[in-house]
Protein backbone atom coordinates (compact mmCIF):
# COMPACT_ATOMS: atom_id res chain seq x y z
CA UNK A 1 0.00 0.00 0.00
CA UNK A 2 1.25 3.45 -0.87
CA UNK A 3 0.88 6.02 1.88
CA UNK A 4 1.09 9.62 0.82
CA UNK A 5 1.76 12.18 3.50
CA UNK A 6 0.73 15.64 2.36
CA UNK A 7 2.54 18.43 4.19
CA UNK A 8 0.47 20.98 6.15
CA UNK A 9 -0.46 24.14 4.28
CA UNK A 10 1.62 26.27 6.66
CA UNK A 11 4.76 24.46 5.53
CA UNK A 12 3.91 24.90 1.87
CA UNK A 13 3.69 28.67 2.16
CA UNK A 14 6.59 29.09 4.55
CA UNK A 15 9.06 31.49 3.00
CA UNK A 16 12.12 32.21 5.02
CA UNK A 17 13.44 35.77 4.99
CA UNK A 18 16.13 36.38 2.40
CA UNK A 19 17.33 39.11 4.71
CA UNK A 20 15.66 40.88 7.58
CA UNK A 21 11.93 41.35 6.84
CA UNK A 22 12.36 40.62 3.12
CA UNK A 23 11.00 37.31 1.87
CA UNK A 24 9.84 35.94 -1.48
CA UNK A 25 6.67 38.06 -1.46
CA UNK A 26 8.87 41.12 -1.20
CA UNK A 27 11.06 39.85 -4.03
CA UNK A 28 8.07 39.20 -6.28
CA UNK A 29 6.38 42.52 -5.45
CA UNK A 30 9.55 44.51 -6.09
CA UNK A 31 10.28 42.51 -9.24
CA UNK A 32 6.71 43.06 -10.48
CA UNK A 33 7.02 46.80 -9.98
CA UNK A 34 10.47 46.90 -11.58
CA UNK A 35 9.42 44.79 -14.57
CA UNK A 36 6.32 46.95 -15.07
CA UNK A 37 8.40 50.12 -14.86
CA UNK A 38 11.08 48.77 -17.20
CA UNK A 39 8.56 47.60 -19.79
CA UNK A 40 6.84 50.98 -19.94
CA UNK A 41 10.14 52.84 -19.73
CA UNK A 42 11.59 50.93 -22.68
CA UNK A 43 8.29 51.15 -24.57
CA UNK A 44 8.19 54.91 -24.07
CA UNK A 45 11.72 55.30 -25.39
CA UNK A 46 10.90 53.69 -28.77
CA UNK A 47 9.96 55.79 -31.79
CA UNK A 48 6.20 56.25 -31.42
CA UNK A 49 5.57 57.14 -35.05
CA UNK A 50 6.55 53.76 -36.49
CA UNK A 51 4.42 50.63 -36.14
CA UNK A 52 4.96 49.31 -32.59
CA UNK A 53 6.82 46.04 -32.14
CA UNK A 54 8.17 44.06 -29.21
CA UNK A 55 8.03 45.79 -25.84
CA UNK A 56 6.22 48.86 -27.15
CA UNK A 57 3.62 46.65 -28.78
CA UNK A 58 3.16 44.81 -25.48
CA UNK A 59 2.78 48.05 -23.51
CA UNK A 60 0.37 49.56 -26.04
CA UNK A 61 -1.66 46.36 -26.07
CA UNK A 62 -1.94 46.67 -22.29
CA UNK A 63 -3.02 50.30 -22.51
CA UNK A 64 -5.56 49.54 -25.24
CA UNK A 65 -6.87 46.58 -23.26
CA UNK A 66 -7.41 48.70 -20.15
CA UNK A 67 -8.94 51.58 -22.10
CA UNK A 68 -11.17 49.65 -24.50
CA UNK A 69 -12.09 46.54 -22.55
CA UNK A 70 -12.27 47.91 -19.02
CA UNK A 71 -12.63 51.69 -18.85
CA UNK A 72 -14.88 52.22 -21.88
CA UNK A 73 -17.03 49.22 -20.96
CA UNK A 74 -17.62 50.27 -17.36
CA UNK A 75 -16.98 54.00 -17.00
CA UNK A 76 -17.27 55.46 -20.47
CA UNK A 77 -15.06 58.17 -21.92
CA UNK A 78 -14.98 60.14 -18.66
CA UNK A 79 -13.22 57.26 -16.98
CA UNK A 80 -10.15 57.41 -19.25
CA UNK A 81 -8.32 59.54 -16.67
CA UNK A 82 -8.34 56.44 -14.43
CA UNK A 83 -6.32 54.44 -16.96
CA UNK A 84 -2.93 54.89 -15.21
CA UNK A 85 -4.32 53.65 -11.90
CA UNK A 86 -6.15 50.70 -13.45
CA UNK A 87 -3.17 49.89 -15.67
CA UNK A 88 -0.87 49.89 -12.62
CA UNK A 89 -3.29 47.62 -10.77
CA UNK A 90 -3.57 45.19 -13.67
CA UNK A 91 0.15 45.06 -14.40
CA UNK A 92 1.09 44.70 -10.74
CA UNK A 93 -1.45 41.96 -9.99
CA UNK A 94 -0.67 40.01 -13.16
CA UNK A 95 3.07 40.16 -12.56
CA UNK A 96 2.51 39.10 -8.94
CA UNK A 97 0.34 36.19 -10.14
CA UNK A 98 2.74 34.90 -12.79
CA UNK A 99 5.52 33.62 -10.48
CA UNK A 100 3.14 30.79 -9.53
CA UNK A 101 4.36 28.99 -12.63
CA UNK A 102 7.94 30.25 -12.72
CA UNK A 103 10.59 27.80 -11.57
CA UNK A 104 12.46 28.75 -8.38
CA UNK A 105 9.84 31.31 -7.33
CA UNK A 106 7.01 28.82 -7.87
CA UNK A 107 4.37 30.73 -5.93
CA UNK A 108 2.30 33.81 -6.71
CA UNK A 109 2.78 36.70 -4.29
CA UNK A 110 -0.98 37.17 -4.33
CA UNK A 111 -1.40 33.72 -2.80
CA UNK A 112 -0.50 35.44 0.47
CA UNK A 113 -3.08 37.78 1.94
CA UNK A 114 -0.92 40.89 2.30
CA UNK A 115 -0.88 42.19 -1.29
CA UNK A 116 -4.55 41.45 -2.11
CA UNK A 117 -5.53 43.09 1.18
CA UNK A 118 -3.45 46.18 0.53
CA UNK A 119 -4.78 46.53 -3.03
CA UNK A 120 -8.38 45.99 -1.93
CA UNK A 121 -8.02 48.60 0.82
CA UNK A 122 -6.45 51.00 -1.66
CA UNK A 123 -9.36 50.51 -4.04
CA UNK A 124 -11.79 50.96 -1.13
CA UNK A 125 -10.17 54.24 -0.13
CA UNK A 126 -10.07 55.42 -3.75
CA UNK A 127 -13.69 54.72 -4.63
CA UNK A 128 -15.04 56.14 -1.39
CA UNK A 129 -12.90 59.25 -1.81
CA UNK A 130 -14.15 59.61 -5.37
CA UNK A 131 -17.74 59.20 -4.17
CA UNK A 132 -17.31 61.85 -1.47
CA UNK A 133 -15.58 64.21 -3.86
CA UNK A 134 -18.27 63.91 -6.52
CA UNK A 135 -21.33 63.87 -4.29
CA UNK A 136 -20.20 65.40 -1.03
CA UNK A 137 -21.66 64.01 2.16
CA UNK A 138 -24.75 63.05 0.17
CA UNK A 139 -22.65 60.12 -1.10
CA UNK A 140 -23.29 58.26 2.15
CA UNK A 141 -27.07 58.55 1.86
CA UNK A 142 -27.00 57.72 -1.85
CA UNK A 143 -24.82 54.73 -1.06
CA UNK A 144 -27.16 53.55 1.69
CA UNK A 145 -30.43 54.26 -0.07
CA UNK A 146 -30.42 54.02 -3.83
CA UNK A 147 -33.17 56.12 -5.47
CA UNK A 148 -36.58 54.49 -5.56
CA UNK A 149 -36.28 52.46 -2.38
CA UNK A 150 -39.58 52.59 -0.42
CA UNK A 151 -39.35 54.32 2.95
CA UNK A 152 -40.34 51.17 4.80
CA UNK A 153 -37.48 49.23 3.24
CA UNK A 154 -34.83 51.84 3.94
CA UNK A 155 -33.50 50.44 7.23
CA UNK A 156 -32.98 46.99 5.75
CA UNK A 157 -31.66 48.18 2.37
CA UNK A 158 -29.45 50.77 4.08
CA UNK A 159 -27.91 48.13 6.30
CA UNK A 160 -27.30 45.79 3.37
CA UNK A 161 -25.89 48.53 1.13
CA UNK A 162 -23.61 49.95 3.80
CA UNK A 163 -22.35 46.48 4.65
CA UNK A 164 -21.85 45.73 0.97
CA UNK A 165 -20.01 48.97 0.18
CA UNK A 166 -17.96 49.33 3.31
CA UNK A 167 -17.12 45.76 4.29
CA UNK A 168 -18.01 43.19 1.68
CA UNK A 169 -16.58 44.83 -1.43
CA UNK A 170 -12.99 45.16 -0.19
CA UNK A 171 -13.26 41.83 1.59
CA UNK A 172 -14.51 40.00 -1.50
CA UNK A 173 -11.94 41.75 -3.71
CA UNK A 174 -9.10 40.65 -1.47
CA UNK A 175 -10.35 37.15 -0.76
CA UNK A 176 -11.27 36.41 -4.39
CA UNK A 177 -7.76 37.16 -5.59
CA UNK A 178 -5.99 35.55 -2.64
CA UNK A 179 -8.13 32.40 -2.55
CA UNK A 180 -8.00 31.77 -6.30
CA UNK A 181 -4.25 32.11 -6.44
CA UNK A 182 -3.68 30.04 -3.30
CA UNK A 183 -6.04 27.34 -4.58
CA UNK A 184 -4.16 27.24 -7.89
CA UNK A 185 -0.89 26.95 -6.03
CA UNK A 186 -2.26 24.11 -3.90
CA UNK A 187 -3.46 22.27 -6.99
CA UNK A 188 -0.04 22.52 -8.62
CA UNK A 189 1.61 21.29 -5.43
CA UNK A 190 -0.84 18.41 -5.11
CA UNK A 191 -0.18 17.09 -8.60
CA UNK A 192 3.56 17.71 -8.40
CA UNK A 193 3.64 15.86 -5.10
CA UNK A 194 1.58 12.98 -6.48
CA UNK A 195 3.77 12.70 -9.57
CA UNK A 196 6.88 12.60 -7.43
CA UNK A 197 5.40 10.08 -4.98
CA UNK A 198 4.27 7.71 -7.73
CA UNK A 199 7.48 7.92 -9.73
CA UNK A 200 9.80 7.35 -6.79
CA UNK A 201 7.53 4.95 -4.89
CA UNK A 202 9.46 2.03 -3.38
CA UNK A 203 6.99 -0.64 -4.31
CA UNK A 204 6.83 -3.95 -6.18
CA UNK A 205 3.71 -2.83 -8.03
CA UNK A 206 5.37 -1.82 -11.28
CA UNK A 207 2.19 -0.28 -12.66
CA UNK A 208 2.52 2.61 -10.24
CA UNK A 209 5.55 4.25 -11.85
CA UNK A 210 4.04 4.61 -15.36
CA UNK A 211 0.88 5.91 -13.75
CA UNK A 212 2.83 8.93 -12.57
CA UNK A 213 2.36 10.26 -16.11
CA UNK A 214 -1.31 10.99 -15.31
CA UNK A 215 -0.76 13.51 -12.50
CA UNK A 216 2.19 14.85 -14.50
CA UNK A 217 -0.09 15.64 -17.45
CA UNK A 218 -2.53 17.23 -15.03
CA UNK A 219 0.34 19.27 -13.62
CA UNK A 220 1.29 20.53 -17.07
CA UNK A 221 -2.32 21.32 -17.90
CA UNK A 222 -2.87 23.16 -14.62
CA UNK A 223 0.34 25.12 -15.10
CA UNK A 224 -1.00 26.41 -18.42
CA UNK A 225 -4.36 26.96 -16.76
CA UNK A 226 -2.71 29.04 -14.03
CA UNK A 227 -1.46 31.48 -16.70
CA UNK A 228 -5.09 32.01 -17.67
CA UNK A 229 -6.22 32.19 -14.04
CA UNK A 230 -3.53 34.76 -13.25
CA UNK A 231 -4.68 36.92 -16.15
CA UNK A 232 -8.34 36.43 -15.32
CA UNK A 233 -7.92 37.36 -11.66
CA UNK A 234 -5.98 40.50 -12.58
CA UNK A 235 -8.71 41.38 -15.08
CA UNK A 236 -11.53 40.74 -12.58
CA UNK A 237 -9.85 42.80 -9.87
CA UNK A 238 -9.25 45.67 -12.28
CA UNK A 239 -12.70 45.67 -13.87
CA UNK A 240 -14.38 45.52 -10.45
CA UNK A 241 -12.27 48.47 -9.37
CA UNK A 242 -13.48 50.39 -12.42
CA UNK A 243 -17.08 49.39 -11.67
CA UNK A 244 -16.78 50.49 -8.03
CA UNK A 245 -15.21 53.84 -8.93
CA UNK A 246 -17.90 54.49 -11.53
CA UNK A 247 -20.62 53.47 -9.07
CA UNK A 248 -19.16 55.85 -6.49
CA UNK A 249 -19.17 58.69 -9.03
CA UNK A 250 -22.78 58.02 -9.96
CA UNK A 251 -24.39 56.30 -6.97
CA UNK A 252 -27.85 57.35 -8.16
CA UNK A 253 -27.51 54.81 -10.98
Amino acid sequence: MLALKFPPINELIRWRDIFSNFNKVGVIAVAAALIGIMVFLVAGSRDPLVAPTGVRNLAETGVNFIENDIVMQTMGKDGLRWTPFLLSLFVFIYLCNLPGILPVLQMPATARMAIPLFLALTVWVVYNAVGLRHNGIKYLTLMAWPPGVPVGMRPLVGLIELLSNIVLRPFSLAVRLFANMLAGHMLLITFAFLTNALFFAETKQFALKPMSILPFFMLVFLTAFEVLVGFLQAYIFTILTAVFINAAQHPEH
Binding site: N23, G26, F40, G44, L87, S88, A109, R112, F118
Partner: protein
Protein backbone atom coordinates in the same frame (compact mmCIF):
# COMPACT_ATOMS: atom_id res chain seq x y z
CA UNK B 1 17.77 18.05 16.27
CA UNK B 2 16.65 14.76 17.82
CA UNK B 3 18.37 12.05 19.83
CA UNK B 4 17.68 8.43 18.85
CA UNK B 5 17.59 5.66 21.47
CA UNK B 6 17.64 2.00 20.39
CA UNK B 7 16.79 -0.73 22.94
CA UNK B 8 16.35 -4.47 22.59
CA UNK B 9 13.55 -6.34 24.35
CA UNK B 10 12.92 -10.05 24.36
CA UNK B 11 9.39 -11.41 24.61
CA UNK B 12 9.18 -15.17 24.40
CA UNK B 13 10.96 -16.33 21.24
CA UNK B 14 10.81 -13.03 19.41
CA UNK B 15 12.98 -10.00 19.78
CA UNK B 16 11.92 -6.52 18.81
CA UNK B 17 13.90 -3.32 18.36
CA UNK B 18 12.25 -0.21 19.72
CA UNK B 19 13.34 3.15 18.36
CA UNK B 20 12.52 6.21 20.43
CA UNK B 21 13.21 9.77 19.49
CA UNK B 22 13.27 12.78 21.75
CA UNK B 23 14.17 16.39 21.15
CA UNK B 24 17.27 17.79 22.72
CA UNK B 25 16.54 20.07 25.61
CA UNK B 26 16.03 23.68 24.67
CA UNK B 27 15.19 22.92 21.05
CA UNK B 28 11.57 21.92 21.53
CA UNK B 29 10.41 25.54 21.42
CA UNK B 30 12.33 26.21 18.19
CA UNK B 31 10.68 23.26 16.49
CA UNK B 32 7.22 24.37 17.62
CA UNK B 33 7.77 27.89 16.25
CA UNK B 34 8.81 26.67 12.80
CA UNK B 35 5.38 25.54 11.64
CA UNK B 36 5.23 28.24 8.98
CA UNK B 37 3.06 31.32 8.71
CA UNK B 38 -0.72 31.42 8.92
CA UNK B 39 -2.14 30.86 5.44
CA UNK B 40 -4.71 33.61 5.95
CA UNK B 41 -3.27 36.32 8.18
CA UNK B 42 -1.31 38.99 6.28
CA UNK B 43 2.23 39.68 7.39
CA UNK B 44 3.28 43.26 7.98
CA UNK B 45 6.56 42.92 6.09
CA UNK B 46 4.76 41.52 3.01
CA UNK B 47 2.18 44.28 3.30
CA UNK B 48 4.91 46.90 3.45
CA UNK B 49 6.90 45.57 0.50
CA UNK B 50 3.77 45.06 -1.60
CA UNK B 51 2.46 48.52 -0.79
CA UNK B 52 5.81 50.17 -1.45
CA UNK B 53 6.28 48.39 -4.77
CA UNK B 54 2.75 49.20 -5.96
CA UNK B 55 2.91 52.84 -4.89
CA UNK B 56 6.22 53.33 -6.74
CA UNK B 57 4.82 51.64 -9.85
CA UNK B 58 1.61 53.69 -9.72
CA UNK B 59 3.35 57.03 -9.16
CA UNK B 60 5.81 56.44 -11.98
CA UNK B 61 3.01 55.20 -14.21
CA UNK B 62 0.85 58.24 -13.39
CA UNK B 63 3.57 60.86 -13.74
CA UNK B 64 6.01 59.56 -16.34
CA UNK B 65 5.39 56.20 -17.96
CA UNK B 66 1.77 56.39 -19.07
CA UNK B 67 1.76 60.03 -20.26
CA UNK B 68 4.86 59.45 -22.38
CA UNK B 69 3.50 56.26 -23.93
CA UNK B 70 0.06 57.77 -24.47
CA UNK B 71 1.52 60.89 -26.04
CA UNK B 72 3.40 58.72 -28.53
CA UNK B 73 0.29 56.66 -29.25
CA UNK B 74 -1.79 59.79 -29.80
CA UNK B 75 0.87 61.22 -32.12
CA UNK B 76 0.90 58.04 -34.18
CA UNK B 77 -2.88 57.80 -34.27
CA UNK B 78 -2.99 61.45 -35.35
CA UNK B 79 -0.48 60.75 -38.10
CA UNK B 80 -2.42 57.69 -39.21
CA UNK B 81 -5.65 59.70 -39.18
CA UNK B 82 -3.96 62.43 -41.24
CA UNK B 83 -2.63 59.84 -43.68
CA UNK B 84 -6.11 58.34 -43.97
CA UNK B 85 -7.62 61.74 -44.65
CA UNK B 86 -4.94 62.42 -47.27
CA UNK B 87 -5.59 59.03 -48.83
CA UNK B 88 -9.33 59.76 -48.86
CA UNK B 89 -8.74 63.11 -50.57
CA UNK B 90 -6.45 61.48 -53.15
CA UNK B 91 -9.02 58.75 -53.72
CA UNK B 92 -11.78 61.34 -54.20
CA UNK B 93 -9.63 63.30 -56.67
CA UNK B 94 -8.80 60.11 -58.55
CA UNK B 95 -12.48 59.20 -58.67
CA UNK B 96 -13.34 62.68 -60.05
CA UNK B 97 -10.68 62.28 -62.74
CA UNK B 98 -12.00 58.85 -63.60
CA UNK B 99 -15.55 60.26 -63.83
CA UNK B 100 -14.35 63.09 -66.08
CA UNK B 101 -12.46 60.63 -68.27
CA UNK B 102 -15.51 58.39 -68.49
CA UNK B 103 -17.69 61.39 -69.45
CA UNK B 104 -15.25 62.30 -72.22
CA UNK B 105 -15.20 58.72 -73.40
CA UNK B 106 -19.00 58.69 -73.47
CA UNK B 107 -19.11 61.93 -75.50
CA UNK B 108 -16.59 60.59 -78.01
CA UNK B 109 -18.51 57.34 -78.25
CA UNK B 110 -21.77 59.22 -78.88
CA UNK B 111 -20.11 61.33 -81.56
CA UNK B 112 -18.67 58.25 -83.21
CA UNK B 113 -22.05 56.54 -83.14
CA UNK B 114 -23.63 59.60 -84.71
CA UNK B 115 -21.08 59.61 -87.50
CA UNK B 116 -21.47 55.89 -88.08
CA UNK B 117 -25.24 56.33 -88.30
CA UNK B 118 -24.90 59.12 -90.83
CA UNK B 119 -22.51 57.08 -92.95
CA UNK B 120 -24.87 54.12 -92.73
CA UNK B 121 -27.76 56.29 -93.96
CA UNK B 122 -25.71 57.57 -96.89
CA UNK B 123 -24.72 54.05 -97.81
CA UNK B 124 -28.34 52.91 -97.57
CA UNK B 125 -29.49 55.67 -99.92
CA UNK B 126 -26.77 54.85 -102.40
CA UNK B 127 -27.63 51.17 -102.23
CA UNK B 128 -31.33 51.86 -102.76
CA UNK B 129 -30.62 54.10 -105.76
CA UNK B 130 -28.23 51.60 -107.33
CA UNK B 131 -30.74 48.84 -106.81
CA UNK B 132 -33.55 50.87 -108.45
CA UNK B 133 -31.34 51.67 -111.42
CA UNK B 134 -30.39 48.06 -111.75
CA UNK B 135 -34.01 46.97 -111.57
CA UNK B 136 -34.96 49.48 -114.27
CA UNK B 137 -32.13 48.28 -116.52
CA UNK B 138 -33.09 44.69 -115.99
CA UNK B 139 -36.76 45.52 -116.77
CA UNK B 140 -35.83 47.24 -120.00
CA UNK B 141 -33.63 44.39 -121.08
CA UNK B 142 -36.30 41.86 -120.11
CA UNK B 143 -38.96 43.74 -122.16
CA UNK B 144 -36.64 43.87 -125.20
CA UNK B 145 -35.88 40.20 -124.87
CA UNK B 146 -39.58 39.38 -124.53
CA UNK B 147 -40.41 41.40 -127.69
CA UNK B 148 -37.62 39.74 -129.68
CA UNK B 149 -38.76 36.42 -128.46
CA UNK B 150 -42.37 37.13 -129.47
CA UNK B 151 -41.27 38.25 -132.91
CA UNK B 152 -39.13 35.17 -133.42
CA UNK B 153 -41.96 32.97 -132.25
CA UNK B 154 -44.43 34.70 -134.60
CA UNK B 155 -42.00 34.33 -137.51
CA UNK B 156 -41.47 30.72 -136.67
CA UNK B 157 -45.21 30.12 -136.46
CA UNK B 158 -45.72 31.83 -139.80
CA UNK B 159 -42.99 29.74 -141.33
CA UNK B 160 -44.40 26.55 -139.88
CA UNK B 161 -47.99 27.34 -140.95
CA UNK B 162 -46.82 28.15 -144.49
CA UNK B 163 -44.88 24.92 -144.64
CA UNK B 164 -47.85 22.94 -143.24
CA UNK B 165 -50.19 24.62 -145.73
CA UNK B 166 -47.91 23.73 -148.63
CA UNK B 167 -47.57 20.17 -147.47
CA UNK B 168 -51.31 19.91 -146.87
CA UNK B 169 -52.15 21.36 -150.30
CA UNK B 170 -49.73 18.93 -151.99
CA UNK B 171 -51.10 16.05 -150.01
CA UNK B 172 -54.68 16.95 -150.94
CA UNK B 173 -53.68 17.36 -154.54
CA UNK B 174 -52.06 14.01 -154.66
CA UNK B 175 -55.04 12.45 -152.97
CA UNK B 176 -57.79 14.11 -154.90
CA UNK B 177 -55.98 15.25 -158.04
CA UNK B 178 -57.21 18.74 -157.35
CA UNK B 179 -55.31 21.44 -155.60
CA UNK B 180 -57.41 23.14 -152.85
CA UNK B 181 -57.57 26.86 -152.53
CA UNK B 182 -54.57 28.29 -150.76
CA UNK B 183 -56.70 30.60 -148.58
CA UNK B 184 -58.79 27.68 -147.36
CA UNK B 185 -55.80 25.61 -146.53
CA UNK B 186 -54.18 28.50 -144.77
CA UNK B 187 -57.31 29.15 -142.72
CA UNK B 188 -57.62 25.50 -141.77
CA UNK B 189 -53.97 25.27 -140.81
CA UNK B 190 -54.20 28.51 -138.85
CA UNK B 191 -57.30 27.30 -136.99
CA UNK B 192 -55.71 23.93 -136.26
CA UNK B 193 -52.44 25.48 -135.03
CA UNK B 194 -54.31 28.01 -133.00
CA UNK B 195 -56.41 25.18 -131.46
CA UNK B 196 -53.37 23.04 -130.74
CA UNK B 197 -51.58 25.90 -128.87
Amino acid sequence: MFTVTVTSTTTGASRAWVVQTAPIEGEAETVAEDKGPSPIAPEVKELAWGAGAFIVLFLLMRVVLFPRLKKGMDARYGKIRGDHEGADATRAAARAEVAEYEAEIAAVKAQAAQRIEAARNVLEDERTAALAELKARVGTQRAAATAANEAARAAAEQHVSTAVADVSSRAAELATGKRPKAADVTNIVASLMGGSQ
